[in-house]
Assembly symmetry: C2
Homo-oligomer: 452 residues x 2
């Protein structure tokens, strides 16, 4: 049995990110000011983000150079490997060729540092001393903690209290890299204090944690806010994944018929598929791009495409996106990174244009696929990308049934070393599947902001 791993040298790593905005056949609807309903200007975002990132958010340049300092840190784990999953192919007895890009090789264990390092760099360059952010299970918080360490920035992470208490490993990871982590709601912000006054035992939520981080950043001259997904500049930084993959697929002498990834806010999958979406738009490539989301939080498959807030409390600009309503709280599936009410505007727009498609899967089916993958390829995937693996296996089996060989590519966005209790729950039959919470979504959609 041949194992095939496609590696690029540091010199072959892309030196620019790919910006899909100028290649879109229809322009992306702009973010709106929640008060006026008017498109936002750069000044509106200046209290929260450095100007370089604000300009990337609306750039019309097709390629944006990756600063040398960022490239240098990327080199600690990039270029990341592309694998041909020959053992899985054999186990499935499929004529399909399955490739996966593995982002779990970063020290934080996921794709998140690709943007964390870039964001820390631009903030540092504009004199920012400190970044504030929120984190749920801790994937994003740990990536930003590491990035801030490299640039000598302070990092304050508001970590959802229930995760802070139940998942100490990622908190310790952040602290090992020097970040300050507090359970949210905290007494460090007015938002946190207000919640604690109402309910001293509040378990917290991502929405509350965002409110705390935004208040922290808005209230301090030396501090900006940092977000790990959804926004255009975040997806831009992640395109290093897809640009590397295209070179590696060339080494393999192959080109994908199907590209698969999981979506929560959209950044890991967009990082892989955006360069391929560009080929589809500009060169008319026949390629299926399949986004996989949880049945418990089926933003693209069930949510309307309209303007909504990015956070639960309603502090952010309005983004046009697929949404289940900003007050919707998704069920507690193990794939914490997929529990988000909205979806990146770029991903939503491409879905609306028919350039990408979406499917939803249950977590038991996802973990079953994750175990099958681990028992053939060795690598333990994080709960999020097991959703992608489920659809990859389905497509490979379909190839067998149809007697057709197709090339399937997916993003293995991170390892599951900090998520093993979820595998234990699956193996011991304790994992619950949540049906689409239609009534809750209906209620949340009634809270959608009115836009003229």
């Amino acid at each position: 049995m041949e194992t095939t791993k496609y590696l690029l040298s540091e010199k072959e790593m892309p030196t620019s990110w790919y910006n899909i905005l100028p290649d879109l056949p229809v322009p992306l609807p702009p973010p709106l000011h929640p008060g006026t309903g008017q498109p936002l200007g750069p000044a509106d975002l200046a209290p929260l983000f450095p100007m370089a990132l604000i300009m990337q958010e609306v750039s019309s340049e097709p390629f944006i150079e990756i600063p040398e300092e960022v490239q240098s840190i990327y080199h600690l784990w990039r270029p990341s490997p592309l694998y041909r999953a020959r053992r899985l192919e054999k186990a499935l007895d499929t004529p399909a060729k399955i490739y996966y890009k593995y982002e779990g090789v970063s020290p934080a264990g996921s794709h998140k540092p690709n943007t964390a390092v870039a964001q820390a760099y631009y903030n540092k360059k504009e004199g920012v001393k400190r970044l504030a952010t929120e984190t749920g299970a801790g994937q994003w918080g740990s990536a930003l903690a590491m990035a801030c360490m490299f640039f000598g920035l302070e990092c304050k992470v508001y970590m959802v209290k229930v995760s802070y208490n139940q998942k100490p490993y990622r908190r310790i990871l952040m602290e090992t890299w020097g970040a300050k982590v507090v359970p949210s709601p905290s007494t460090d912000t007015n938002a946190g204090k207000t919640i604690l006054n109402q309910d001293p035992d509040s378990p917290g939520s991502l929405g509350i944690a965002i409110s705390e981080a935004v208040e922290d950043a808005a209230g301090r001259e030396d501090t900006k806010y940092s977000l790990g997904s959804v926004l255009n500049h975040v997806l831009l930084h992640q395109t290093v994944i897809g640009l590397e993959t295209k070179k590696q697929m060339e080494m393999a002498g192959d080109y994908p018929d199907i590209v698969v990834g999981c979506i929560g806010g959209g950044s890991n999958f967009a990082g892989l598929f955006l360069p391929y979406a560009g080929d589809k738009i500009k060169q008319g490539k026949k390629i299926r791009i399949i986004a996989v989301e949880p049945e418990a939080c089926p933003t693209v498959t069930k949510g309307p495409y309209c303007y909504d807030f990015g956070d639960t409390v309603g502090l952010t600009p309005l983004l046009k996106m697929h949404t289940l309503g900003h007050t919707f709280v998704p069920p507690s599936i193990h794939a914490g990174g997929l529990r988000y009410h909205g979806m990146a505007p770029i991903v939503s727009h491409l879905g609306n244009l028919g350039i990408i498609e979406a499917v939803a899967v249950h977590q038991n089916a996802a973990f079953k696929a994750g175990i099958q993958f681990a028992r053939n390829e060795g690598i333990i995937a994080a709960p999020e990308p097991t959703h992608a693996i489920k659809v990859v296996i389905d497509e490979a089996v379909r190839c067998k049934n149809e007697g057709v060989s197709r090339t399937i590519l997916f993003n293995l966005s991170g390892h599951g070393h900090f998520d093993l209790t979820s595998y234990d729950d699956y193996l011991t039959g304790k994992l619950e599947d949540y049906e689409y919470p239609e009534a809750l979504v209906k209620k949340a959609l009634a809270d959608l902001p009115k836009v003229a």
Copy 2:
């Protein structure tokens, strides 16, 4: 700041292991039968090991071919990267050049699969259906679980009960790969039942777990026993680390003045240094090879070099090695992989010949170095290799003080993703240093077997 990573292609991976036995200036003292005191023959070991491994244990061939099936699985993560630690060098303001070989890229997170895959292969080839082994914190058990999965072997792991209860992550990892894991002492063996009869709440020990695994293997026709360190064939399989490193150091245009690694049973460090020890013996290379052990279990720095049992209960052959006495139970330091009373015979012999040297360090100093490494290089090291990092930093600082540039190479044998609570203990000041337990060692040394 330049990051430098030296990568080999799959084609450049060594296709043979290096066997130092024929290059030793003085032959290695043989293992002895505990009953007769006579050197062991192959037949004595046949109930526990397949013949291919028994022959490797005494081979006089300088290179032994790595079977293609083993190479193919190695390719899932090998060749592993060699890094130049430029950020750490800069932080230390040292003229020293620091390189590290990173074995944490394997799916099990350490160097252990290098031998686990080879052992599973040879057992499979000789018709064995099932392997039994012991594990403490779980590094070795998880590597063997993964290896057995690749070859369709059953895997039974006796895991020290206190670890089984306190460290569920590595147990789940083994189960995800399909192994059967029981807390030891168990009711599955007579050894386990005897202990449980005496003390139903026994927390277990590595010694007890070895007894259970050996009894399991000896009592079943379809089952052999597998050991993760100490023996010659285990060290042989690990030399793929050092052989790759030599090629990568050539890419860097460099050769080490100092090679550093941590030692518990000796296998990770021997894997790196044996090819360099060969250079030292055959070419007279001036190179310091420094083995680092814990002050709490200073086998080479404090233990006599004599014949002793490999396990606590006294079931194994007698090995000539540095030992603190087979009944010595080391204090509960976090580096579980370094808590062993003995030392690989090859490592002990080379120490006795003056080819390698040893130093002992405290765990607080080791974790301090590990944090310094993580905050510069990003990677969170397992507790075991933080011991090596401590000495690397000391040597780099000495270079600065002496105004001399030396090339320092060390083995970063695994990541610390499953050991983060130990970092937490260090960061919160809860980590205890244990002085050398002289009285306990003296007592254990009184139990040494008598050899004519």
